[in-house]
Subunit: 689 residues, 2 copies
């Protein structure tokens, strides 16, 4: 009768003592979690530094995210402003600087919930696009927060296609000013962060007109709000664009300009200038600017995509060993849901992808550092490859990771749907990464254009960048694997990916040429191939990711414990990709139906192997409970207790209705009394007229 005893509800004290179902998972780790963490961090000294930064931030109540899931858009914005201001103080106090080794850990520790991020872009754009004189004037003002900057590029009518932007800046030779205008509603600046409420200044991108001639897009520093009272400047209409799926903490804004005049000196003029007599002078190379745009795409991969995916995996996998549901064997205890093959098949490939993308990020960083060194030596040869890589990998990693986070969310059932799980906000935030900094389909097509060009060059014997020499390589026509174990050989699967990617690019190039030769115009032919071109670009990136994972594992020979489990994850990532995209491998018979059955068998076998280390593998990501901010994912696994305690804090539980409705005798009166009492007692709500 123990079941029926009451008064057994756990008190707060249970939080912190690890749930035995989670503790047991940690006792059987096949490797040292601490060693893996240190390796991921790039050495134990980095781990120590990261932990010190995280601890300093989490100890400070000003950075608390405790009430985040209960906050309105207004409240989240205010919290982000408060944190941004406090962070400056904290950095002074701790001796952290923007260029110091601690800096990259700060954003991670704060999970990005900061205002004034666009202020940094404002500073960066002036540093890069401004003349020495402009830098000397504006950068000190900005770094000392004498103004708050923003960056106004996107318009209501145009995003990724920059040439289409419509805002105009006409040079008025008589007053030596530029006159900025929003010529119609679609030209309104729309989306820029920090612009809805915070910014006093912004860099406006506008079509430059001098003496009636358009010189294309140029950047102008424009003051939009008073430095005396924060009111809008004359000719400026600006505000917040309203509620979004996430990013409530950022005041994405709109901006209309009506005959707004700025002095000639406010056009950022490192690369081009309008002289007092209206002469337009272009100087230096804009290629470096072009390079900078591509680096932004690479720089967001870790913080905005891979780390959120790692968090989602941590939450979902820890929850899946705490949650017990139904029985695997009749008569036994209910099983941990991670013991079901279907749950393993949902989560473990996402875990493998998180590692794969963490490593591809390292690869890209290295590639870009190398590119940067070359560019400093005035060698721009790598630019097309770097642009193609930044586009394709940004698109592939964001798209894959968005699906992965969604899978993690759904794998947690109803509790995953609660904001308190942390998963909905991870999803609603990561999904935006598929759109911002270049829409993914457009990015894939840019990569495809590069690949087609390289393929054409390679097939006529011209030199191509090392990353794409494979396009012209001769590979066997059939996969040589004879049994399921052969598919655990990186050579076998890497070659399969290579063959498949090369085939897709090859066959799409052939289709393109056939169409053109049959008389279809070039742009129409291109459009008719874009579905396949995008697929080919994705296949290329997938191949490089698998290859890089395999090479990363190879380099781990001094750490055999870690190497073994990483090898399993690499195999899983590769075989999951073949299993889920079977068609492109089977299409030309490179992999036969019988071999696909071997792939499937090895893939399913691997799930059971990695399942044993699943919790240690997410523990190694080393997220604190405060960073995860999840009732399901905490280190102690006290899932139900935490859900219950956190729910108590909800504003929906803050109102008490003690009311007299004994007089309500008619059919509807009772419900009405309930409604009106809610309405009466609820004085603390945000009113909307």
């Amino acid at each position: 009768m123990a079941l029926m005893e009451t008064g057994k509800y756990s008190q707060g004290s249970v939080l912190g003592s690890v749930n035995p179902d989670l503790a047991s998972e940690r006792q059987t780790a096949s490797f040292s979690v601490e060693k893996l963490t240190a390796w991921l961090d790039g050495g134990a000294e980095h781990t120590r530094l990261r932990r010190a930064v995280v601890e300093a931030i989490e100890r400070d109540p000003a950075f608390s995210r405790e009430n985040q899931y209960f906050q309105s858009q207004n409240e989240r914005y205010e919290a982000a402003v408060r944190k941004a201001v406090h962070l400056q103080k904290k950095m002074d106090e701790m001796g952290w600087t923007d260029n110091g080794p601690e800096f990259k850990y700060i954003y991670r520790a704060l999970s990005g919930d900061l205002a004034f991020l666009l202020h940094r872009i404002f500073i960066r754009s002036i540093s890069m696009l401004g003349s020495d004189k402009q830098i000397a004037k504006w950068i000190p003002l900005a770094t000392q927060y004498q103004l708050i900057g923003s960056y106004a590029q996107t318009e209501l009518g145009h995003g990724t296609y920059l040439q289409g932007l419509e805002t105009t800046a006409v040079f008025d030779i008589t007053t030596q000013e530029f006159v900025l205008n929003t010529p119609n509603i679609s030209a309104m600046k729309w989306w820029p962060g920090d612009m809805g409420r915070s910014a006093t200044h912004t860099v406006v991108f506008a079509q430059l007109y001098v003496k009636g001639k358009c010189y294309g897009l140029h950047p102008f520093i424009v003051q939009i709000r008073s430095l005396q009272d924060h009111s809008l400047c004359p000719g400026i209409t600006a505000g917040d664009i309203g509620p979004k799926m996430n990013f409530e903490h950022i005041d994405n804004g709109y901006l209309m300009l009506q005959n707004v005049r700025v002095p000639r000196e406010n056009m950022l003029s490192k690369f081009c200038e309008v002289q007092p007599d209206g002469t337009y002078v272009r100087r230096g190379s804009q290629k470096i600017n072009y390079f900078t745009m591509t680096t932004v795409r690479i720089s967001l991969i870790l913080d905005e995509v891979v780390i959120p995916l790692m968090k989602a995996c941590t939450i979902a996998i820890r929850y899946s060993v705490v949650r017990r549901q139904s029985k695997l064997k009749p008569g036994e205890q209910e099983a941990k849901i991670l013991d079901y093959q279907t749950q393993q098949e949902k989560l473990l490939p996402q875990l493998a992808a998180a590692y794969a993308f963490y490593f591809i990020n390292d690869y890209l960083q290295e590639l870009f550092n190398r590119g940067y060194r070359e560019i400093q030596r005035k060698n721009f040869d790598m630019l097309p490859e770097l642009h193609a890589f930044s586009s394709g990998f940004k698109a592939m990693v964001t798209q894959y990771s968005t699906s992965a986070v969604e899978i993690c969310l759904r794998a947690c059932g109803g509790h995953g749907y609660s904001l308190l799980s942390g998963l909905p906000s991870l999803y609603t935030k990561i999904v935006a990464s598929c759109i911002y900094e270049g829409e993914n389909t457009i990015l894939f097509l840019q990569t495809a254009r590069f690949l087609i060009k390289c393929f054409m060059a390679a097939s006529t014997g011209q030199p191509v960048p090392p990353s794409v020499t494979y396009l012209a390589a001769v590979t066997p026509e059939k996969c040589p694997a004879k049994n399921k174990l052969d598919f655990l050989s990186p050579d076998i699967y890497t070659e399969a990916y290579q063959h498949m990617a090369a085939r897709l690019i090859n066959s799409t190039a052939a289709k393109l040429q056939d169409l053109i030769q049959s008389g279809v115009k070039k742009h129409d032919a291109w459009n008719q191939c874009t579905v396949q071109l995008a697929q080919a670009a994705k296949a290329h990136c997938h191949y490089i990711t698998v290859k890089n994972f395999a090479e990363t594992v190879e380099k781990l020979e001094t750490q055999p414990g870690i190497q073994k489990i990483m090898k399993h994850l690499c195999d899983l990532f590769a075989l999951h990709g073949i299993f889920s995209n079977a068609g492109v491998f089977l299409h030309d018979g490179y992999i036969s139906g019988a071999q696909m059955d071997m792939v499937t068998a090895s893939y399913l076998d691997l799930l059971a192997v990695i399942r044993k280390d699943a919790v240690p593998l997410v523990d190694a990501f080393d997220f604190t409970d405060k960073t995860l901010n999840s009732a399901l994912g905490s280190y102690d696994g006290q899932v139900y207790q935490r859900l219950y305690e956190w729910a108590q804090k909800s504003p929906t539980n803050k109102q008490v209705w003690m009311l007299d409705y004994s007089q309500a005798t008619s059919a509807l009166a009772r419900a009405e009394v309930v409604y009106f009492s809610f309405n009466k007692s609820n004085t603390d709500k945000s009113k909307v007229e």
Copy 2:
């Protein structure tokens, strides 16, 4: 210089006059939109009735959804209560009844934003599970709203696996009462709608114990709040479970019971009863109850899944002919984004799926009506098939539609990410359908169990239900298609689906038997096949959906205009499925690589064909602007103007900061002044302690 003229921002007056880019799409429809609408509604008289209901509701300001995207959780809940109360009055006023022909259109017109939906389930469960005496006592109280009911099944620790529920009800023979308890935290009721704040009564599912013996799960009517002052009853702890990804308008709640006593008469006793001396009596058949659970899954498909998908398609497709971005041909005007093949490939398959699922819903309704008639004649033969269908189709349609809505959202770029587009809330709501009323993976496995059983029976010559006779049918080993046009033959592709589904079930059954024969225990063998079993079940449902679509098109011979476009959509749905799941068709060589190229060619050709009718095809869904509640999807296509006007209403634009920070001279003081002023002036926010 026309570009630079100012003062041209369109005023409100532009709303309602159709954007020419959208108007032109309607002039070239290949069919009569009105006729298609009438056919979808089941006849012009149904269309008239539906429109009358929608109009009556939309004319009534009490049902307005205008401010929905700006509301807090509290406000959405209050609005839902207000609407539920008002709806009762409206129904009286209009002469609508719960069983009248108007009823099904009301929910559609209100887009489900109603409180007290669980009150209906409370009523339904008493009607079905209660004795005549219980029905006579409780139903009038409920229908007159003398109480507000809820339905408490799910617990913190158990959802789909009902046997695992832990709440207990012990019969106390001395007082003739049941004593209900929540024995530990995981047994807390968690998620029931209307329970967090509204309900006064609920049906609690608990394990029944009589004289120490457990009789399994039984339903008990329990009062949880006072009918005098709405305070919690003794022994009851209840509240709201906090913020969710959506459904803010519903007070999903938790409930703990500590020695809560209810009279013996409160156990719903149509099928079983505890007599005063403690004798447990079971009577009648519980099969009908089992049937009712499956009908709930079918009943949600239209309103909660297909209609939201239709809305998402309407919004995304209308936006895609208004949005112009980049150029298809150099020198020309920027192209409508729907003219890009990649955009067509994103949206048009989702449109085809919306139609496919609308038709499969008709098919399922008919099947279930037939089943219901049989059951009333005490013939329960169809039950296993009905259960398998309700499980598999619920899972397939919700999973597919969730992805489809997400694709629509992402296809609208940045503006799709704004809540004002309507797409984020469609997504965050539909994703829940993958979890509630049975988690999808578990449901697929239930279908798989049925299919494996039928396959075994069929292969030994035993009779099986008509829907699965194909499992034992002999089909050709190779697809007979010779060119891409052959793949526009429903016979060709339906047979390909049939072959593929039968093969997957067949091969998984073989794997299962091999494992068992090799000594693996039955339950382990089952678990090791579940990834493939779920895939096979999905393939079966996909096949039936394609087949049903083709049959629906065939029956349209009297309406050739509509039949033609429906045939195109059917082809697209089928070929998209083959294109995106190429592996399972190529695996055994049923479709060859060369044939897959034909599939791809026909599939891509179809996109260009259907693109011409895309707008008429969504217009035919006949959603009003108020129903869509989308700045991107309105009938007039005035996308930018509407985004701008709606953004003005956001609470984030309601605060004006005119402040003096001229004294702020230090580095951070200015930002701090901004922050503190926000804080000071912002008195209308919802506080969280």
